[in-house]
Symmetry: C2
Subunit: 419 residues, 2 copies
Amino acid sequence: MSIAAEMNAMGAAARDAARLLRESTNEQRNNALHAAAANLQKRAAEIVEENAADVQAATACGVSSAMLDRLKVTADAVRAMARGLEEIAAFPDPVGRELARWRRPNGLDIARVSTPIGVIGMIYESRPNVTADAGALCLKSANAVILRCGSDANRSCAAIHAALVDGLREASLTEVAIQLVKTGDRDAVGMMLGGLDGAIDLIIPRGGKSLVARVQAEARVPVLLHLEGICHVYVHEKADPAKARAIVLNAKMRRTGVCGAAETLLIDRAVLGSLGVSILNDLLAAGCEIRGDEAVGAVFPGAKPAIEDDWRTEYLDAVIAVKTVDGIEGAIRHIETHGSHHTESIVTEDEAIAERFLAALDSAIVMWNASTQFADGGEFGMGAEIGIGTGKLHARGPVGIEQLMTFKYVVRGTGQVRI
Amino acid sequence: MSIAAEMNAMGAAARDAARLLRESTNEQRNNALHAAAANLQKRAAEIVEENAADVQAATACGVSSAMLDRLKVTADAVRAMARGLEEIAAFPDPVGRELARWRRPNGLDIARVSTPIGVIGMIYESRPNVTADAGALCLKSANAVILRCGSDANRSCAAIHAALVDGLREASLTEVAIQLVKTGDRDAVGMMLGGLDGAIDLIIPRGGKSLVARVQAEARVPVLLHLEGICHVYVHEKADPAKARAIVLNAKMRRTGVCGAAETLLIDRAVLGSLGVSILNDLLAAGCEIRGDEAVGAVFPGAKPAIEDDWRTEYLDAVIAVKTVDGIEGAIRHIETHGSHHTESIVTEDEAIAERFLAALDSAIVMWNASTQFADGGEFGMGAEIGIGTGKLHARGPVGIEQLMTFKYVVRGTGQVRI
């Protein structure tokens, strides 16, 4: 079978699965999630072994240690995946919820009711655990999913996927509810972006710039965008020094590889030589490289000079760009010009200034006196997530169970006709 | 200036306008709407005159009388547009509404707050009143909009647009909040679909199949789809005969040119020869052409034979396709196979059957014992609308003020860092 025929057959199977899932019960889907969790534990040794083969091949290809780190799956990581599935199962049924209901003067009873989107195409790179997370989130939300992992993680993902399919089978749900693209051929990605003959309702890409660029150029179906997180912390002149030091250090250094990590620090000129220097000392002591503008260099000799590119770079590493600004308008202008509309935080004790920052910025998440590392579905109390959406449509911020739903209107009448 | 330079300049101006609108007040936007309504009245004679020139040119080109009908603007129609603007102004402020707010165990206060989408690109054909409706809905929702009308309506739309700009000016809002593409060059549409160098956040197309096909092929930015409305009425064997006759006649014949008009009638075989014949007699007496399957032809000689294409044709005319089905599963299967996921209605007194129909179908609007002609934002109590969305993402069903909004998360802390 050609790749095109194979992919279109997967699309048709997913479409059928979506129809069945739409009428499945929450209990059936939870049964499948519990069974999948048990099967992940049962297959842990096999998953770790298959992963070792992926890691070995990647090592032979000379990939970076950061990438190897993301590829690696330990027995602990398998346990964490299984736990994640149990947590997703514990969430309430997202299907058929009445989001609103009202009655019209003519007696028509109108309800807005949550329904699954249908078929999700998930395209991701590295991190094999996305197979379990995304598969489970889609199943819980009664969506069929076609998963396409990076080819360097093929064996790991196939082993994890097998445990999910075991779970579907044991719960008597269709096994094609969660499909994994087997071929490493990159044409498969293009076919998914084309929609597989109308089968795919939504593409969710998770990966680096080249994947995102390809998706934006080729997608013929709606996309839930996850751009990079060029997150800012703005230290206002009326910041509480202790809060500012703790928040900046945490926002940058707690984990540098997450999309909610701060990449640029904006400091009011009025406090640059005082609080600013303390903050930069903290960062330097924690092993962070500092790239500052001229004013920063003048008060902090440990800083390297920042170039224009630094203001729009997602380092995902122990590096921070530091820019001096003259008050909140300068901070807002910098973020609007260089940001990626992900997450921005202001540190200040001045409520009016804080509210201005929160209102003026058009990012998915805006914060006051809190670390940008809270940009996470779990931390928001929304449960597991597929990522942080940076687009404007449908879902912004954490994309979890609720964001994988759409709705329809249900109108109940007693014979009404329109005048 | 080249068309590309001109269009990109419009995009940049719209992006700036969106920034200003985001921080405008509801009162300012309402002032502009009231002033625009007054200016529409003031310019009524000019609008009708410009429209007459468009109609004359279209007549000379030999366009159909149905199209001329949609193009025509009377003084009454101008008054209706002005009234529409006043009604839109009367709606509550959609910006900055707290859609949800909760507190996390660590004290973080998280709110989901409504915000404008940004810049809307509206591409439409004929019906010049869309200029006023879409312009006003976007302004009320604090979105900047770039309007591109069909070239046959250019002079009418320019005259209407001038009244909107007068309103913006009188309310001291930026005049580029509502822009109209002046060139008739079809390349302008392609440029809008390309996003005007990142300026456009959302494309809303309203038009025929060729426009929709072009948008689906070329759009590089999110699209709010409005496909055709192949709406079904299903008369179940337990239908109340009086309700069934009234609903089918209304759903098909009240206005045949609206997207919520019924195009296909499904009748249970058990009642085809009795209630079915009465319904078909009603339709025929009202001037409706009937295209039926074999069973229909056998009991109703006035029917022409339906061909396969009839099941997927949006007539927008006094024609109906009639198909015999064996119970609800046959009806659901037919709709899922041939429908456009717009609006479907079941007529029955059996509640369990009705609920099965409402749950099983994946259309934007599903109805029980009501005419499909209620598929309309005004009839839903949601106010004026740009159209009925048939896609799955962001908004389905009526697209009005609320559906032109997105949201962001506002997180208020007291110095929290993530562990």
